[in-house]
């Protein structure tokens, strides 16, 4: 009987100890997890302060620049780290702008971007690698003209600042694609318009609250 009583006492003591210690243990584990998880910053692209520039060789002479004005999407990053870095960017092809309406019309036509068949171009990152203090190689799928190809973009973190009404962060990506790989062959064979297109994407995004 004494033994049974003693066993009950010890069980109660153990349970009490668990009840007292468990929250502290769980709290400590949660704190540890919070320390290990990256402090990801999620940003929504501000299309007023973001754009995509492209450069192509014209008639074997000058380098011709154009831009896309409508860039949307979001990006996620952990300051200074490649882990967790993600880009999901959409560019509206109809927003192509060279400053000359006639050229814009031609670039929107099926000769080039085919804005009516393919209203958007997208880039979805699949991985990132740190290459410098603020630079990364971001791998992702670029979908353009109905074709998806994996590309690597050299991305630079350009800064983060408080704008008064909220915080914004910026990135700049540079990469080169062969437009013929995406089925955009107009003028390539005749050498009128170059095949290699250099793309610069400047992003500024508001940090989500």
């Amino acid at each position: 009987m004494i033994n049974t009583f003693a066993r009950r006492i010890s069980s109660v003591t153990f349970l009490s100890a668990v009840a007292v210690l468990a929250p502290q243990m769980l709290g400590a584990a949660a704190d540890q997890a919070a320390t290990a998880a990256p402090a990801l910053t999620v940003c929504t692209v501000d299309d007023t302060h973001s754009l995509a520039l492209f450069r192509v060789h014209h008639m074997g002479a000058g380098q011709f620049w154009g831009r896309f004005n409508d860039v949307t999407g979001n990006f996620t990053f952990d300051s200074g780290k490649a882990e967790g870095m993600k880009f999901d960017i959409t560019i509206r092809t109809e927003s192509v702008d060279t400053g000359v309406e006639g050229l814009n019309k031609h670039l929107r036509s099926p000769d080039f971007f085919g804005a009516k068949d393919f209203p958007t171009m997208t880039f979805k990152s699949t991985g990132a690698k740190k290459t410098g203090e603020k630079t990364f190689d971001v791998t992702g799928d670029l979908t353009m003209h109905g074709v998806t190809k994996s590309i690597v973009a050299a991305v630079e973190f350009t800064g983060m600042a408080n704008m008064g009404k909220g915080t914004s962060a910026g990135f700049e990506a540079i990469f080169t694609v062969k437009r013929s790989d995406f089925g955009m062959k107009y003028g390539v064979e005749k050498g009128a318009i170059g095949d290699d297109v250099k793309v610069v994407v400047a992003l500024e995004g508001g940090v989500a609250k």
């Binding site: 804005a115 009516k116 909220g166 062959k185 107009y186």
Partner: protein, 314 residues
């Protein structure tokens, strides 16, 4: 791109042999005089209805070559890439179907035969075409109605010997090419320009030989090609030309029906002028109307919008 691409990859030997054979067949299809008393200079060259295979040279060849050269691919690759992600990419297949249908239907001269080919040939071509914003069946039916009208009118003069009807097609396709170019679609403009150039070439051949006629099969196929070009031009139009101007362009061959007016039968020269310039005038009217309509609807930029405003923090 060098000439070797055109020669080895685009044209390819079987195509060259086939087109040469068709050309010779069309140009030298003479009937032998039945009597020695007949004036041989005329009797050796009676009006020929033209080979039913001429649409291969007149329509399929320029469309396929201009497409293949612009895409820098071979004919085989061009046809193998169907179905394409772009509805415009179906144009070579649409023209192949139209030409095949025209060959099957042939050059029958009866009214029923004409009507059948004027409906059948555009129908099989339009099945392949569904430009952006013009899908769903109704636009295709409208295009078919226009094509049938244009084809019937074109058939009414297709039995006329000499180059006049082909000269009319030369000018119509040239105007169509300009209109498509102004709408922003250079690749399609090149295709229509190639059709124009081929019509001019055949017109020169017809003038040199003197007696061959187009034949209904060719007239219907050319009308189908024009309607297909206008249909795609309308769908991909980046200049916002009014749709009725595209319809007017597609129906331009209908102007040749004026050549059948009894009053003109006593004025052969005026009749030829109508056949050559009537469709071109209607097409030019469509082009002018499109440009005027676009110019009148251009609005100034709204200056009230703050160009530096942030989209996220208004």
């Amino acid at each position: 791109m060098g000439p070797e691409l055109v020669w080895n990859a685009v044209l390819e030997w079987p195509v060259i042999v086939l087109c040469t054979a068709i050309g010779i067949h069309w140009l030298f299809r003479w009937k032998r005089p039945s009597s020695a008393s007949v004036d041989r200079s005329v009797a050796l060259r009676p009006p020929s209805r033209g080979s039913r295979f001429v649409p291969i040279v007149a329509v399929l060849l320029p469309v396929a070559v201009s497409e293949a050269v612009q895409e820098a691919i071979t004919l085989r690759e061009l046809l193998a890439q169907y179905p394409t992600t772009v509805s415009y990419g179906a144009l070579p297949w649409a023209m192949l179907a139209a030409v095949a249908a025209a060959i099957v239907v042939g050059n029958g001269s009866g009214a029923l035969s004409r009507a059948a080919s004027a409906i059948l040939v555009p129908s099989v071509a339009l099945v392949f075409l569904s430009p952006p914003g013009l899908g769903g069946g109704v636009p295709q039916l409208v295009a078919l109605a226009i094509a049938a009208l244009a084809a019937m009118a074109a058939c009414s003069v297709s039995g006329r010997p000499g180059p006049a009807p082909l000269l009319g097609w030369w000018l119509v396709f040239a105007v169509a090419s300009v209109m498509v170019l102004l709408s922003g679609f250079a690749k399609l403009a090149v295709v229509l320009g190639a059709l124009s150039a081929m019509a001019a070439t055949l017109a020169v051949c017809a003038a040199a030989i003197g007696r061959p006629t187009m034949g209904n099969g060719l007239a219907v196929t050319l009308a189908t090609a024009l309607v297909a070009g206008a249909f795609l031009g309308c769908g991909y139009d980046e200049s916002s030309f009014p749709r009725w101007t595209w319809a007017l362009l597609a129906s331009a061959p209908a102007a040749t029906a004026l050549a059948g007016v009894p009053m003109l039968k006593r004025h052969p020269r005026l009749r030829v002028t109508v056949i050559v310039l009537g469709p071109a005038a209607l097409a030019a009217l469509a082009l002018a109307a499109a440009m005027l309509a676009t110019a009148s609807t251009t609005s100034p930029t709204d200056s009230a919008v703050d160009p530096y405003a942030s989209a996220l923090r208004p």
